[in-house]
Symmetry: C2
Subunit: 423 residues, 2 copies
């Protein structure tokens, strides 16, 4: 079953608002096995909305609009849909009752009242968080135009409570989707290894890159969830086998989620000592609900004095090797683990830039160390050819720290000089 989304709102075209509505609706359609052909965003402009609607009606069975249902004169989605589908607006008794309930004793303006009018023959969707109901408008030929409000706080419950059950009845297949997530391999290299797997139509396998990580998405379509899953799993397993131990999880949210879960499972704890990442590593760990079980101490030792005072990095070491050095990274990881009695210690020191680089220690150079028992592992990260900016450098360093810990927790080799050898 083919679907399209039309998002309505000048604020989207001015870049004031990110179109998360389209993402939510896309996800819902995908979970029902419906093919979303395209998303079209137009402004609060009746003419352009009308063209977009007519075009979409020529291609898809389900057209979902978001936005333009409110009480102001800018809101013209319903009027336009009524005109295009030739279903004139009529008062919907149930929607009117809900609107009166919402306003209670307060007077209702004519503009507000128009929200209780829906295109003739519509199925109304109540709005649990606002005044404008949504609806599904039948088009003569068995097609539906579904109208949803723009504010995500109104759209999300309506999607969940009304639209999904409505669409479920007409869905002819189910999609199973698996995201194989990796760290430590480039998109190009990964694509080569799985090239022959990406050619099939069902299941499909597609690689893509994001935030210094590489993902492969495997998707299968079938009559039931179990059948779709059974179709996808052999490809998921093959992708995992070919990419090897750079795969850190399937359908997980990130390295930090895997690390926190593994630490919780094994009853072990972590302490962190950060210089150039300045709290980003701790922030990623504590993004995870429940991280307090495994993470008690995080130190940001930006100043040299802080490294000495809080982690016991000797002043002589700082003077001799500099704060950005393998020695100091190791000492930070060991110091934070020992002083704060954690099972694992992570230390990061580097030049995030854009200033502060020297010839021997260029911007982008970072040392990451992991300490566990008597062992310490180190990765040296050097920008290859180009420095990619402060944010990228910090993100990459925190991901390496998490990856080193992830590998040790999984019983894999952590490597001594990862970046120099593998990049």
């Amino acid at each position: 079953m083919r679907a399209e989304i039309i998002s309505v709102g000048t604020e989207l075209l001015l870049g004031h608002t990110i179109n998360t509505d389209a993402t939510h609706v896309a996800r819902a359609l995908s979970s029902l096995g419906m093919d979303l052909l395209q998303v079209h965003t137009v402004g609060d402009n009746g003419g352009r909305l009308e063209s977009a609607l007519r075009e979409a009606l020529g291609r898809a069975q389900i057209i979902i609009t978001t936005g333009g249902l409110g009480p102001t004169d800018d809101d013209m989605t319903k009027e336009t849909v009524a005109r295009v589908t030739e279903c004139p607006l009529e008062e919907d008794a149930d929607s009117l009752r809900r609107l009166r309930e919402y306003f209670g004793e307060r007077p209702i303006s004519a503009n507000q009242l128009k929200q209780a009018c829906l295109p003739r023959g519509s199925v109304a969707f109540p709005n649990d968080a606002g005044t404008a109901p949504g609806c599904a408008v039948p088009v003569g030929t068995g097609q539906w135009v579904i109208l949803l409000p723009g504010p995500p706080s109104e759209l999300l419950p309506m999607l969940e409570n009304s639209v999904m059950p409505f669409l479920q009845k007409m869905a002819d297949s189910v999609i199973a989707s698996f995201m194989v997530r990796t760290f430590g391999i480039g998109e190009g290299a990964a694509a080569l290894r799985i090239a022959d797997l990406t050619e099939g139509g069902n299941p499909t396998a597609a690689p893509y890159a994001s935030d210094a990580e590489m993902f492969v998405r495997v998707t299968a379509k079938a009559q039931s969830a179990a059948a779709a899953e059974a179709l996808a799993m052999p490809v998921v397993d093959e992708v995992r086998a070919r990419l090897g131990d750079v795969v850190y999880g399937i359908n997980v949210t990130g390295l930090e989620a895997v690390v926190v879960d593994k630490l919780r499972e094994s009853g072990q704890s972590l302490a962190t000592a950060e210089s150039c990442t300045g709290g980003l590593l701790a922030k990623r760990i504590t993004d995870q609900p429940g991280s307090s079980e495994v993470f008690g101490y995080g130190l940001i030792t930006y100043a040299n004095e802080a490294k000495t005072k809080l982690l016991g990095v000797p002043e002589e070491m700082l003077a001799q090797h500099g704060a950005v050095s393998p020695e100091v990274a190791r000492c930070m990881a060991v110091g934070v683990r020992e002083r704060y009695e954690a099972d694992y210690g992570l230390g990061i020191t580097g030049v995030a830039g854009p200033g502060g680089g020297t010839e021997s220690k260029p911007v982008g150079l970072v040392y990451v160390a992991l300490s566990y028992g008597q062992d310490v592992w180190l990765r040296e990260l050097r920008p290859q050819g180009r420095y990619l900016g402060r944010e990228w450098t910090r993100r990459l360093a925190s991901s390496h720290a998490l990856d080193m810990l992830r590998r040790h927790l999984a019983g894999l080799p952590v490597e001594a000089q990862w970046a120099v050898e593998a990049r």
Copy 2:
């Protein structure tokens, strides 16, 4: 000048990725005074991309595509644009040189090499954060198709460094845009205060909300930058006057930028003690280049024991009032300032959730304290009606901490119980 965006990527249609690229490009076009007619999102599907391109070429002078420039077989934007514009792909010497630099001694696969080929006659845009260059492809009739990579880390610098200057040359007017940034006032309240200012066509004033902050963008269009600025400034001044001291800056990147700048100017230092924000506050501060001059120590005391050991919070206080209490927040702020010899200390403790709430201390409750000399200020944040999630709670708490410090640095009252009174 009329523009359209075509975003390419199956991950967008499956709802795996939010289309922030379109928002960034839309904002850039808007700042140049260009009219964005619509945004079209299609999958990795040559046929649909081709139709979308042909339709857009019938309406707009500038068409910007995002995504589909990478090395894999899924990436077909460049090939499709080459076919539609009849500009066949040719090796671009400069892009090839950059690609070779990027790979250094490593071998370059054929897939990677194809990234150095651009449609004939293109203006190349170097990629500072990845391998695929962008480009502007001339269409016979004075139109341009501009191709940008999908990953935001690559698209954003290219947009800023190459595309904006390129488009600026063909814009028929100059836009001056001022973002008046506030913290501590709701969008509704702000909109009411400036309602009569938002009605003009040139300059325009538009309020919007983002990440618990509220901005007003004032934009004016004229023949020269100076004329546009002169047109905008009276409105900027009026907005600032009406909104008052919740305005923390104009055209600044965030509260953290203002705080770090002010600390550097005044030669003062800051130390932070975080519980529920888990490093987010320190991360925001160290996002700023040069923050090391003013920020030496950041402590994440997630465990009670850490609060005692590193900040001197008495065990009895933790036992009597609990870790989430005004007393502990105050003690954290004072402790971190005194122990680590900073001018300012910030302390944050709360229930970020989603678990861990109780009747008296619900999820979303956070205490934020600022210590300076003999003084301590406290804000209590309680979710109004609804808990808005872990990420929101943590973001809001870190913004309050920065705002308290910002107000003190600006000589404004910091307030004792901001949230209870003002929300």
